[in-house]
Symmetry: C2
Subunit: 124 residues, 2 copies
Amino acid sequence: MRRAPQPLLLDLVFAALSDATRRGLLSRLIEGESTVGTLAEPLQMSLPAVSKHLRVLEDAGLLKRRIEGRTHYITANPKPLREAVNWIERHRQMWEGSFDRLAALMEQPPPEPPAKESSKPKKP
Amino acid sequence: MRRAPQPLLLDLVFAALSDATRRGLLSRLIEGESTVGTLAEPLQMSLPAVSKHLRVLEDAGLLKRRIEGRTHYITANPKPLREAVNWIERHRQMWEGSFDRLAALMEQPPPEPPAKESSKPKKP
DNA sequence: GTCTCGTTTAACCATTTGGTTAAATATTGT
DNA sequence: ACAATATTTAACCAAATGGTTAAACGAGAC
């Protein structure tokens, strides 16, 4: 089944984040790659339910899936969160009238997320 | 570490932000207080529809309403956005492997935005 | 082959969402 | 008192959401 047209990506991201179960899944993915079954195991709901939640997150671009044999390996993908947080920060800071934290966010525009082993850019 | 879930409000905030019409309303409120009718006017939908959207935003704590006579004056309330952006930043930065901007976010709980020419508030 | 495993799809159900129009409410103006 | 204004509430509808169970699919194991 193909997806319907395209609702704005921001719509999908915020909608995906609006469910505590899905936020919980994302939280657990901080610890690294996992599988559908592993993710479902502690949750008190059926496997198809978890599968659906993962699909919502995937449609929002918040996770990537690597299928290997019969196992689906899931990892979090932070990229769409950038846009979401930018929207929020833009508004929050205009309302709060303090722009310096917005500036801090803005100073990282280059889309360069290559390193798996990350060099942590330290602030001098 | 496991953060005890604080589910309800975050659910409401993210759900409220997941609709482009509502985000548009919030954007327009950057320019200051407005009324229901004024907010509804450019939108191609009925007044009750706008009223419902405003209620969703209000339930999420994202706006405040000052009733004066028969007119409802609406202003944006950025406070709940703090929690939302904290959630996102916490996760985004863990996935992206850079923690310093998270630290920057975390170290500003007191509502004290004094200097316009700002340095980062230092914690010695 | 057959069986089990990991996962999705299908079909269904109840609730919520986003919209409508019509009516109600409350306030202001004449 | 009456009418106009600003907004909400009520009633309804279609579609989306979040869950279920049962069936299907694809890959390893025996």
